[in-house]
């Protein structure tokens, strides 16, 4: 009778999950990857482990070892999956693309990046992970992320050249740093350096300041 009770719980005849996977390795692999990404996005890297992923994927952790070679391989798979971030995030029309100056471009890109990060919890968690740890795991993931981001920036930039006389690479790095930290701090505590970042009105203020800064450097 104990078995019966367990069966009733375990087998979701018509329960939440639509159908039970049956000996479909591809589907299982996908489920594991999805579980890992979801777990990382929702809980962060603190409680990210083999057991937690397997629990969420609804399978045995042994399969993670078999199919991905452990957590490291799984993390690498997440990194590989990040390649799709670029094309998912490129709006087909970039506002008519009537971008006249490098300043126009950077202002637009800054705001786009801000919004893109604002509603991408997984990317945010990876970013926070990068900053907090320096293991090989994280380094690889970080590389994939920065590559994706760089590719995105390149695609968006087109062929507009930065003005002479300014170290555009350094300036842009500072601007990106600001954007990333604003989003991370907001997601974690709803504020940054005393500036509240909760309502959309708060974000308008931040965006305005950001625009002002970009305009200040690039005219």
């Amino acid at each position: 009778m104990l078995n019966e009770a367990i069966n009733l719980e375990i087998l979701p005849e018509a329960a939440g999950e639509p159908e039970r996977r049956v000996r479909d390795r591809g589907a299982t692999e996908r489920a594991i990857l999805a579980a890992a990404k979801g777990l990382l996005a929702e809980q962060g890297f603190q409680n990210f482990g083999i057991n937690a992923v397997a629990r969420r994927a609804g399978c045995d952790k042994q399969l993670i070892y078999r199919y991905y070679g452990g957590l490291d391989g799984l993390v690498e798979a997440i990194g590989a999956d990040l390649g799709t971030w670029v094309k998912d995030r490129i709006p087909e029309d970039t506002g008519g693309m009537f971008l006249l100056t490098y300043g126009d471009l950077m202002e637009r890109l800054s705001l786009l990046l801000l919004d893109a990060l604002r509603d991408d919890p997984l990317m945010r968690r990876i970013l926070a992970w990068e900053i907090s740890e320096n293991t090989e795991q994280v380094r690889r993931l970080s590389e994939a992320r920065s590559k994706a981001l760089a590719l995105w920036l390149e695609r968006m930039r087109g062929s507009l050249a930065p003005p002479k006389g300014v170290d555009a690479a350094a300036v842009n790095a500072v601007v990106i740093a600001a954007i990333q930290h604003l989003v991370l701090a907001a997601a974690a505590g709803g504020q940054c350096a005393g500036l509240s970042l909760k309502t959309s009105k708060d974000w308008e203020k931040a965006a305005t300041a950001l625009k002002r800064i970009v305009r200040g450097v690039y005219g």
Copy 2:
């Protein structure tokens, strides 16, 4: 004889540690606090736990519960200790204080903050912790940190008023965000958004960009 062997190992007659504390509660409390701060600064918040702190302090974890009421209290004590950060970090002469404009001031403050964070591993770890977690523990510590930083900024600012027409609070928050993220990313991976941040030459470039940005907004 087993006792003898243990004694030889445990009691460092003339071993690494200078002297063994003997029934000095104050010293033990200080040792625990120092161990906690050191551990957090060196290892980060990942392996920060009761056992690790007690191990480093060279005492039983029970004492942490007794003297600090557990990890939470200990973290709070670290936060309280952060109050001294302000006066430790205020240079007596702020360069003669011949600061003419708000732009002069913010440029100077930005660089000072950058340097202050660059060589304060504990503050960096706390910053990273803030961004990665949102527990009550972290929230309190975060509050203490931001209060210390705000006080520091206020002390340094003096009575110079920001120019009208710009949302100085928002702009400054963005600048501070940039500084914090630059330092965190550099400490973790030696770069930020493709910009290498290892050599002092790298940092000069970053500082120049930062100055340019501040000058761009505040003229």
